[in-house]
């Protein structure tokens, strides 16, 4: 087993080479990312804790990361949940990314 599996942060790289470093447990809110990192087989990703998203632009990926933090913050929370704002221009691509990432 690789020692990297217990690191706290993961790196998500967008198609235009932007790197987003977020906490591992927050990243796991995305079903796809979770699979990638905890698959029984030793894929590249789980070895290096890095995922290249060749089809997702930085703008979208950034929004996704924001959403993941948002979800973590307000999941099972009783306080009033503020709305998550989505810019309509990126809405369609964001939708596809969400579908891809299962989150």
């Amino acid at each position: 087993m690789s020692k990297n599996t217990s690191s706290e942060y993961v790196k998500l790289i967008s198609s235009d080479k932007f790197e987003f470093i977020i906490k591992r447990d927050i990243a796991l809110f995305s079903g796809t990312i979770k699979n990638m990192l905890s698959s029984p087989g030793q894929f590249m990703e789980s070895e290096q804790n890095t995922i290249h998203f060749r089809d997702i632009k930085a703008v979208i990926l950034e929004k996704v990361c924001q959403y993941l933090y948002y979800k973590d913050r307000y999941n099972n929370s009783t306080s009033e949940i503020p709305q998550f704002n989505i810019d309509p221009t990126i809405a369609l691509e964001l939708l596809m990314a969400a579908d891809f990432l299962d989150c």
């Binding site: 079903g31 796809t32 699979n35 990638m36 698959s39 029984p40 087989g41 030793q42 894929f43 590249m44 990703e45 789980s46 070895e47 995922i51 290249h52 998203f53 060749r54 089809d55 891809f100 299962d102």
Partner: protein, 770 residues
Amino acid sequence: MSRRFQNAADSQFSDNWDRLAQAIREIHRKNASILSFEELYRNAYNMVLHKNGDKLYNGVREVITQHLEEVAKDQVVPAFPVSGASSSQANSANGAGGANFLKVLKSVWEDHTTCMLMIRDILMYMDRVYAKSANVPLVYELGLELFRDTIVRSTIYPIQNHLLDVLLNQILLERENEIIDRSNIKASMDMLLELTDTSAKDSVYATDFEGRFLETSAEYYRVEGQMLVGECDAPEYMKKVEKRLNEEEQRVRHYLSQTTEPKIRSIVEEELISKHLKTVIEMENSGLIPMLRNEKMDDLGRMYKLFGRVIKGHEEMKTAISNYIRELGKDINETVSNSATTATAGESHTTGDRQTGTSVAIRWVQDVLDLKDKFDKVQNLALSNDKAFQTAFNEAFEFFINKNLKSPEFISLFIDDNLKKGLKGKTEEEVDNVLDKTITLFRFIGEKDVFERYYKQHLAKRLLLGRSVSDDAERGMIGKLKIECGYQFTTKLEGMFNDMRISTDTMTDFKDYLEKSALERPKLDLSVTVLTSTFWPMNLSASPRCNFPAEITKACDTFQRFYLARHSGRRLTWQSNMGSADIRATFNARKHDINVSTYQMVILLMFNDLPPSQSLSYETIKGESDIPEADLKRNLQSLACAKYKILVKEPKGKEIEPGDKFYFNSDFTCQLQRIKIQTVASKVETEGERKDTREKVEEARKHQTEAAIVRIMKDRKTMDHNLLIAEVTKQLQPRFVPNPAMIKKRIEALIEREYLERAPGDRRVYNYLA
């Protein structure tokens, strides 16, 4: 334009697909680390997005199938165990080969599942979006199905046969006490459990393996059962069966599916227990009966537990034990009839006959009590107080106890004996214990009213002759009877006690009266017990005559006057056959105090005014005393022919004949100062007396039956014949079991006396006539 677009899309698809197919192959080769999850995931995602989900799915299926076929050929088939002489033989070489095969299979399976998990992960999008809508199994399930069809149920290679053979062989080896590798087998079972058979909607374990397992097991245990029954005795056999049952339970727990547990258990129970129930029970020298005889509680307990598992088990045991109890009971009953015949064959001397009679009775009761103790112990220690068995025991006891027609009498005699002497020196607890045991016997008697009659007679004798050892014990016994049978049973008995108590008070008052009054004191010390006639079982109309000497008559009259002055409206009748007297007799050697019956006192007093050398003839004595003949003979025998010869008879002999002469025996000597002349207190009844008692019982029953019928009819006003009979039987049951024919006769008698009538429309229905 669209065609070009399509071609481009197609080529992109085939590119993507190739890459995916290659990736899958790498996964199979355990080279996943060189792959990028994201790329593969994205490929699949794109394919599904472009509506090529089906092509993807089928492609995946093909790749996996191909891989599995290779695996089958390259890894599984070479590992086939070399079959020895016969695959069903427990062959260790076969065992080792088999174990190896299982190991290979296990590793193949584990590899496959791991790969499938990875493949599922990268194809998750396809699962999520395509599989559900196309109604095909998810990737992982697909993988299982493919494994099932390509390897386990391979049509090309006989993998399944080998697998099943090896598994069954391994189990066989373990049953024959060889050590096998359980983890291997467990892995195979788990694999079979995970694979499902789509048509049966159950696991492959259930469809392919379980059936054969149960079949072969049944066969195995059938043979085992027959062999063991031939070789072992009953306790050994049961121990072995227990062992096998535990083994199989362990086996299931360790490496089979829990669902199999009840099935294999019932097979073992069927083959080893159900089929051999009777054989084991009836095994000579070691079966159920010898176990009971030798009180082997452990073995009995084991049998109870084992046989409890199968339906008929306890039934058989109960029947066998019940029959055994009846056998033993019959033997006990026969000792009675045997000693009865020897007694009648021997001397017909009434006292002798009665003596053996009592001891026979007491022995009978003691034997039955011992028998009950024995089976109570069995019940307690071996049968965990099973109620059904208790019922069977009780029935058996009831059966043989009531077969002995004298049982009510015997039991009463036993209690009589205990209350007279047996309980001396016992603590209160022990006394209670003995009485309790007798009550349990009492419960078994069907004819409780017969018992009541005897008990009353015996109690009367005890009270009047002062033979009771302990008043407390007597009252204790009555208390227990009251609990058993209710108030009515014991009113008369308590009445008798009361009479005794009142009499003592009366006597005290009488003594005071004599002190104070100016009357001439009687020359003798008179002690009177007044009995209320309804309570006591005497036949009063036949109050025996007896001529008392003058002083005695005077004393009696004094008392009578005293008593009637206190209680008006009562009539006193003197019962001379029940009293006793203390006489101071002067012999040549010294004086003795003799305790005799009233009759004997009357006889002896006749010698008072006689010179010593003169005798009285039998006729004279009879004439003067007016004592009935049978009693007279008996009493003369006790005085002249028994141990202490107060009188001398001429001619010598045991029998009293007319013409005998009697002398006062002045030469009489004895060590003791006080002597008691045994009057023959009647013990076991002679045949004549029994018939008498029987008749009285029948009379009483007739009245009770009629009373019951009238009571019921008055309540219900109208009733059907069968119902009436049932109701009457129920009411009379605590006392005795009435004969339906007898009830019918009573109904007819009541109809004649116009208490009831037949319903005008229906002959089977009766109406109450007010």
